[in-house]
Symmetry: C2
Amino acid sequence: MSLIVVGSMAYDAIETPFGKTDKIIGGSAVYVDYAASNFIRDINQVSIVGYDFAKEEMESLKKRGVSLEGVEIVPDKKSFFWSGKYHLDMNTRDTLVTELNVLADFKPVVPESYQGSEFLMLGNLMPRIQIDVIQQLKNRPKLIVMDTMNFWMETTMDDLKKVLKMVDVLLVNDSEARQLSGEFSLVKAAREIMKMGPAYLIVKKGEHGALLFHQQNVFFAPALPLEEVFDPTGAGDTFAGGFIGHIAKTKDIYFENMKTAIIVGSAMASFCVEKFGTERLREITKSDIEERIKQFVQLVNFDIALI
Amino acid sequence: MSLIVVGSMAYDAIETPFGKTDKIIGGSAVYVDYAASNFIRDINQVSIVGYDFAKEEMESLKKRGVSLEGVEIVPDKKSFFWSGKYHLDMNTRDTLVTELNVLADFKPVVPESYQGSEFLMLGNLMPRIQIDVIQQLKNRPKLIVMDTMNFWMETTMDDLKKVLKMVDVLLVNDSEARQLSGEFSLVKAAREIMKMGPAYLIVKKGEHGALLFHQQNVFFAPALPLEEVFDPTGAGDTFAGGFIGHIAKTKDIYFENMKTAIIVGSAMASFCVEKFGTERLREITKSDIEERIKQFVQLVNFDIALI
């Protein structure tokens, strides 16, 4: 049940109304790892870092079952760096600094040992890199999930359209779904996006939950109402990690199980926002996760017999 | 299982991106009636209208089991009139005209025949009127549900606080919950509002669904993802009507049944927005409602066994 994870490994500096951090570990692949490794321990990472990426961080990932054989270490460049500041409502943020560094000329190489992996999670990255990885795989994985963002819709739509034809599940947020489809109604947007390639579409709505579309079906998972959202950074990647982690663990790629996977993803994301960066994800135990998933069941469960 | 409904009976002129209406029937009590009468046929209305309120509209309500004995008809004044225009996103609107007319000096009188009603739905109206009705009831109903709005928080907070102490369930939207409590987090807002009186709080989030709070419990009901929202006018009142209609039908005021009642309210609201005003609510049948509730079950149902 091996899973390839492609995405960034980075440093972030985050400012929220609750405080600010120095450079801390981040990047889409790192959040996916910390979430998915609660469910599977055979994760094959494809990424790139600079000379400044801390050895302890590499070790910490390895201990969670993440192979770093596919992570290129560039000796004379720095790791990708992002800095942002969240507004009071925590839904909007300003990017203060983006330094691509090693990411600027990243050419992913999938090691021979990763061949035959059953699942592929393409974290948010240049669509060209996502295509490159898929093309290097000798056997198509059972399920390919991809994340993307509005920036690629604005700068490299042709590549984005190409990769959309190659994947099974697309993850975007609501404004990105609207931008990609040109439709305001999410039901119409979903129909248009599924015509572009992916058979499944997940629309993330932050504090308002997430929708899963497939053919004529739709499923809704709420976000857990929280007292405080401390730091939303990485919540979307953590959601993706919980989703693909559950799928890879169960090896079941049908719609019914995807619904459950979305609840698992939502539960993982609800932990992520409780502390800065990956801090909370490193602390939680199996029983914390089980307890949180029970809360989701309570949150949406009602007695049909009473109708 | 009789229900007293207090609220406005009005004329509305509505403009949306999809079209505009002449004066059509509206008002909080009218929407509550059209929703609740699918579940119970013993509705006792308390309201006020002018000489211009169409007889056919009165007859149409009576046919649905609504007693109008408690509706005052003022011979020399016009009915309450509201006109509004929705923006493209359908979430925001401008009020173009508000003519209070008969509502300006409404003194509700609860007829003797309404005494002993088991349920009370206080639609959005001046808090003073809501208090007045409660005080006229010789026996306290089993459940008192009230709706309100930001306008009363800004103009008559003292009266609003009084009525909050007298009711069981408060219905507000998310921005009103934040305004009333001074808390941004809805979890914290709910805690503060429940201290003000109501044991149950329902926070309506429009297209993002609704939350029910009670003590430490929280339940979430999604809104049905729709292709088009044609006209949102009255959706909140229709939700309230479905909610109280289900409670009055089942005579069960416990938390578990309130969860089901919120699903019923959400289903009714999803019909309301499909056409202008009350038009869609007049068409739908019992089987339409059953079918829609099944869609809600599909929307949130997932298999815990797969976790």
